[in-house]
């Protein structure tokens, strides 16, 4: 700008420089925050779980443990609590097996395009229930779905439902048959169990308050 401006407020040069500085500063801050967040959301290890060290995203082998979602008075919202060992599909999975299962489960969830009906961590479509804490949903714990599918455990009931969803209609709006195989179904259940152990800062709020109120206890057993 060769022309001299009467006031800084009408100077293009001033606004151009300000735009560059603000954009640059915001970008640098975002990159710095990203480094911090990456550290906090990288997956924990098998040893962390064994020692009871809390990670926001636990290792895949969290599928070998009981998971609950309870009110934390200090944080003021519900948090995942990882409890005692609990067999998953009747066995304990090694760290490698659990990681492979989670990998297969996440691939299947993407390959079947689950996110264009359901929400995961609240993101996706709103045509079907949120799956963030699906593993802890009372529907799988109160005997409804084990009863309908005739399975012993909730993981078996979930896998059976995923393989033949339209055979077990729960509402007029049904899940279609997506050709999910037995292996894929087990892997998806592992993915859902792992996701339920992610610390989502209290989302969904008061998860399944209704079931708690009706049954007179906490929802996840």
């Amino acid at each position: 700008m060769s022309k001299k401006s009467a006031s800084v407020w009408t100077s293009i040069r001033f606004w151009r420089r300000s735009a560059a500085w603000v954009t640059g500063t915001a970008t640098v801050l975002l990159i710095w925050l990203t480094f911090n967040t990456m550290g906090q959301i990288s997956m924990g290890s098998d040893e962390d779980l064994a020692k009871g060290i809390k990670k926001r995203i636990p290792a895949a082998s969290v599928i070998n443990y009981h998971i609950d979602y309870v009110m934390d008075d200090k944080r003021g919202h519900e948090v995942p609590v990882i409890g005692e060992k609990e067999p998953f599909f009747g066995k304990e999975w090694s760290n490698e097996e659990a990681a492979a299962l989670l990998h297969h489960g996440k691939l299947t969830v993407q390959a079947k395009n689950c996110m264009d009906c359901h929400t995961l961590l609240g993101n996706g479509a709103y045509f079907a229930p949120d799956l963030t804490k699906a593993w802890l949903d009372p529907k799988w714990n109160d005997g409804t779905m084990t009863g309908i599918t005739g399975k012993e455990s909730k993981e078996e009931a979930m896998a059976e439902f995923l393989m033949h969803p339209s055979q077990y209609p729960t509402h007029a709006r049904m899940m279609p048959n997506l050709g999910i195989t037995k292996d894929e179904a087990i892997a998806v259940v592992a993915f859902l169990k792992h996701m339920s152990a992610i610390d989502t800062n209290g989302f969904p709020r008061n998860f399944s308050q209704n079931a708690k109120r009706l049954a007179g206890g906490t929802h996840a057993h």
Partner: protein, 484 residues
């Protein structure tokens, strides 16, 4: 839209090709939206044949892709005007257009006929990636990157060769960021939180940062073109908008990091910066109306009649000023604070905001650019609205507003019943979905979707015919004037 006879530059002719495909994809987007809307009311509709996830995937992908087509078209259209040069690698640009269009066709056909695949890498490579908005399989991802690089080379090299206006400077910098961000969405990870973290770098940083700046540049270009607005004033506004859009939009990313496993400090960062996001939208609103009023005032004072030489384009750009502020600003702010968002996240509120924001902020201005393209193609000096232009603008706007209000009511009911009272489990979800408030709202959404579609038919019809009709009128008037 069917001719490019009066365009001097190949770059602008190529732009018209992009606009034509964008219009086809826009129609496809609306048809898929109608199918999805019907499925909310009649769950058996096309069940296990063409399920909601497929309709919805094509609906949102067609949206993103038609907007990218119209954006690329807009840039190719403005390059010669702004730089005074033909795009440097125009042959390559044309080739890229046909490659992209062939690839998009294949991807859509695979979405529609193959739909989903087995749970392994082959599906991610060849069918779909199952990641909302960026479902394109990996082969297409790589192809898109190549095509975008060719496009960007054309923009950048032409900019370096020709005049360096403020508008082009902003455009070149913005497109660099826009293209680069796509790379953040091109990898697979087992960690869903990590996946979502980077996914938002594409989705939010596109839509709420780079696309908004892009729209600012287009508005600036459009105002100079349509009104003859003074470049100095327009460009000063543009820099102010860039400052505020990037200043709020980049860290506004935080409002997507409340509940995906990311640390709690994002609550404060997200709340603060996303609360600032409506501010630049007010500035864009003021900017457009200010220039319009100023130029019109000059014309009336000089008794030279109307300042606007393309009323359909100006109509859509003025609508953009309102729509962006209302849809992105107000409807976004509704549920952006974490205290509210913990109940509204992932409900019909989001859908309401999404519909009005994409329409108000992007669809409007891109349609305005298409009218500018038609004007240039037919060499029309003063283009005015036809009956069809008016029907298009009224019906599409009324339809989208209607859908937004209906979805807002649905979201309100869902938040109260499913989230606040029942706590968001499986049963809570279906209780809220089956209540009359939800069903009535979904019915109204479908009705308003049909209104939007009828408006689109008028729009397409108008874009295809207005040029020939008005250029013929201008010619006969000129003949009559010469004879007299």
């Amino acid at each position: 839209m069917l001719t490019s006879a009066h365009l001097k530059y190949e770059s602008q002719k190529l732009a018209m090709n992009y606009f034509r495909v964008a219009l086809v994809l826009f129609g496809a987007q609306l048809l898929m939206g109608l199918i999805a809307a019907i499925q909310f009311l009649y769950p058996g509709f096309l069940f296990e044949l063409f399920d909601f996830n497929v309709a919805r995937m094509v609906h949102i992908n067609a949206l993103v892709v038609w907007m990218l087509y119209a954006m690329i078209g807009s840039v190719y259209y403005m390059i010669p005007d702004e730089t005074g040069e033909e795009a440097v690698a125009i042959g390559l640009g044309k080739l890229a257009f046909w490659v992209l269009t062939a690839a998009v066709t294949v991807v859509v056909l695979v979405y529609i006929f193959i739909q989903v695949g087995p749970g392994n890498e082959s599906t991610i490579w060849f069918i779909n990636e199952g990641r909302e908005y960026i479902e394109a399989p990996r082969w297409a991802d790589i192809g898109i990157v190549v095509v975008v690089l060719i496009f960007y080379w054309n923009v950048f090299a032409t900019f370096m060769k020709g005049k360096k206006t403020g508008i082009m400077t902003v455009m070149v910098a913005d497109l660099f960021a826009l293209a680069g961000l796509y790379l953040c969405g091109m990898f697979f990870t087992d960690n869903i939180s990590m996946d979502q973290y980077w996914w938002w770098w594409v989705i939010h940083l596109w839509v709420e940062a780079t696309w908004e700046v892009f729209v600012g540049s287009l508005a600036a270009y459009g105002l100079i073109k349509i009104l003859g607005a003074k470049r100095e004033i327009v460009e000063m506004w543009l820099w102010i908008e860039v400052l505020m859009l990037f200043g709020s939009g980049i860290l506004g990313l935080g409002h997507h990091y409340f509940w995906i496993g990311t640390p709690e400090y994002w609550w404060e960062i997200g709340a603060l910066f996303s609360a600032l996001e409506p501010v630049p939208l007010v500035a864009m609103f003021v900017h457009v109306l200010y220039d319009w009023g100023k130029e019109q005032g000059h014309c009336e004072a000089g008794q030279t009649g109307h300042a606007v030489n393309n009323t359909p384009a100006m109509g859509w750009i003025a609508l953009n000023a309102f729509g962006n502020f209302l849809g992105a600003g107000i409807w976004g702010f509704f549920h952006t604070l974490p205290q509210v968002n913990i109940y509204t996240h992932g409900t019909q509120f989001t859908a309401a905001h999404g519909h009005l924001a994409f329409f108000g902020a992007y669809a409007t201005i891109l349609i305005g650019m298409m009218y500018l393209g038609v004007q240039g193609s037919y060499g029309i000096k003063k283009m005015t609205m036809t009956f069809k232009s008016k029907m298009a603008i009224v019906l599409v706007t009324f339809g989208v507003l209607g859908m937004t209000v209906a979805l807002t009511i649905a979201g309100y009911e869902q938040v109260l019943v499913e989230r606040a009272d029942l706590g968001g489990g499986w049963d809570a979800y279906f209780v809220a979905q089956e209540l009359p408030w939800m069903l009535q709202a979904q019915a109204w959404r479908l009705v308003m979707g049909l209104v939007t579609f009828i408006g689109f038919v008028y729009l397409a019809w108008d874009l295809l015919t207005i040029g020939a009709v008005e250029s013929a009128e201008e010619k006969s008037e000129a003949v009559a004037a010469a004879a007299a």
